[in-house]
Symmetry: C2
Subunit: 334 residues, 2 copies
């Protein structure tokens, strides 16, 4: 495999050591627990926002630790949920006395490990923790690794928006309700043009012939809705935007916040080109583009392809989106 | 080819339309001239900082237009210099009355087109324009497309640092001298693990067998120093950092600003892992890491691989680096 690695078994911890080297003023990296948290520790009186999941989706989640977004992130092996002890460590470091909201992408392993972490905390003196599960992927209802829909790109938008609310001092019940509301108003769909290779496996996760695409791909290379010939960017955009607009029930006059996300191996030139097509499709549907974010924000290692996430916008969501954020992966306004 | 495109001939202009859609409050995109400039126009009394070059290196250069960095960028076809008329259009839109500094990466086509643009301006009533050519790549002394060394990752650091000085009000002579100084204190070296495919060509630029790497690769896939078996990340980091440290004459006690840059198709996980190795190598040489930047900042479409750029740091360079910047590709402190 054509990768920059030492022993593949050390890839995650060595990458975290690199994050520590690159962001010494902003992040604390616990290499033993593989938990990344804000330098300076938990903010007293603020709800702690925590997430976690398998590695290989960078900058998600560790790259979203910082002012205005996450307080801590627990990092599993590549495409593998962190274990309960890691999650408990993240909860503890994020706890400023106002409780912790834990955002989990809907995958069976991640959900089970989060439940086990809650049980560990309840038997001790841990903080109060609420869990919100994201399930924004309209591609499939169930999959090999999920009951219900998968959590994908909407997770990035949720962590930003709820992070802003927590920073403003919203309490745990308020942050939890906001997270459920943001998840409910968000839908995504992705497409793969190539597979990716998990370092420990050493071979591509799946095979995809030249000239074909996997529509509705999962962020770990799980099967999507169907394979079909690779169309033009305009056709692919329609394949992604159509199901999202329909499932979200968007109507003429609505506005959205859009994420045009790269899976890791698609050039930014193509992502901007896709943003142009997405905007044209939304224009045609009479849906306004309140804000947009274009780039690699929730990736699948070096997979080629992209996903489109639309979030039904209102003034409050846009205000929280625009609020300052200072993380390695998202940064503005401060 | 596995790409999100309509007609490959339209890729650049459609991507620029996507930039306009994604950054309506910050950028003005002239789709006719393919020039991206700051919304609000030239800043009166400020030196205008302009760059340009072939597309396919995004976010370079159009993604660096904004407060604290470039005033305008001219975008050529993929891996092809913009023509003189585009450069003149960029000079004019960036001119706030204090002259324009034009940063050119050292490739024969880019240098010739810049000279022709100057001749066009001198025959008219255009602004005063100074040109600085970057040539930070230590890999090769001459190449098929270059007399002397190629301009690569150091261009990103130069545009940020000189952009900050221009924003502070430094005059054209001062900005020009600073740009030459920054270029002189910067060196880079890159490695490719795969080729990339130019949309209009439709086939990979070169072939690289599994398990091998091209050391000293150029950002358009030009040949490097040699092909050799792909080593561990630690070995590859040494292959990149060693020649840069030697050529820059770094000694124990020096400090650098480091860019660990992805070529477009390498996951952020691997780039952070490489940052860890680069830091260890610098530690071993007694060289301090004053600042670092890790991610995809000057890319070669979807090429897998990375480059390392080191800039000899002093207090003034670090101060200008830390100054606010608000662009699509780099953003902090404002």
């Amino acid at each position: 495999m054509q990768k920059l690695l030492n022993d593949p078994a050390d890839a995650v911890v060595e990458a975290l050591a690199g994050m520590a080297a690159a962001h010494p003023d902003d992040l604390v990296v616990d290499l033993g627990q593989r938990v990344v948290s804000r330098r300076g520790g938990a903010v007293p009186g603020k709800v702690g926002l925590v997430s976690g999941g398998g590695s290989g989706h960078e900058p998600l989640h560790a790259g979203y630790v910082g002012v205005g977004m996450l307080d801590a992130a627990a990092c599993g092996e590549v495409f593998t949920s962190p274990v309960p002890e890691q999650l408990v460590a993240a909860h503890r470091v994020a706890d400023g006395g106002a409780g912790v909201l834990h955002v989990v992408k809907n995958y069976t392993g991640d959900v089970l490990n989060a439940q086990m972490a809650l049980e560990l905390l309840e038997s001790g003196d841990g903080p109060q923790v609420e869990v919100v599960v994201t399930d924004d992927d309209v591609a499939v209802e169930d999959s090999l690794s999920t009951a219900g829909r998968r959590g994908v790109g909407g997770t990035v938008l949720l962590e930003k928006i709820v992070g802003a609310a927590a920073e403003e001092g919203r309490d745990l019940a308020g942050c939890t309700a906001l997270a459920r509301d943001v998840n409910a108003r968000t839908r995504s769909m992705g497409v793969a043009l190539t597979s990716c290779t998990v370092p420990a496996a050493g071979v591509p996760t799946f095979e995809l012939e030249e000239g074909r695409m996997e529509l509705g791909i999962g962020i770990h290379g799980e099967p999507g809705r169907r394979r079909l010939p690779l169309g033009t960017a305009r056709e692919v955009a329609a394949d992604l935007v159509g199901p999202v607009v329909e499932d979200l029930g968007l109507r003429r006059g609505d506005a959205v916040l859009a994420l045009v996300n790269g899976m890791g191996g698609t050039p930014l030139l193509e992502l901007y080109l896709m943003c142009h097509e997405v905007r044209d499709l939304l224009d045609g549907a009479g849906v306004g583009l309140a804000r947009s974010l274009v780039g690699n924000y929730i990736t699948s290692l070096e997979m080629a392809g992209c996903s489109v996430t639309l979030l039904r916008a209102d003034d409050e969501v846009v205000r929280l989106w625009d609020a300052p954020v200072v993380t390695p992966g998202l940064r503005w306004g401060a």
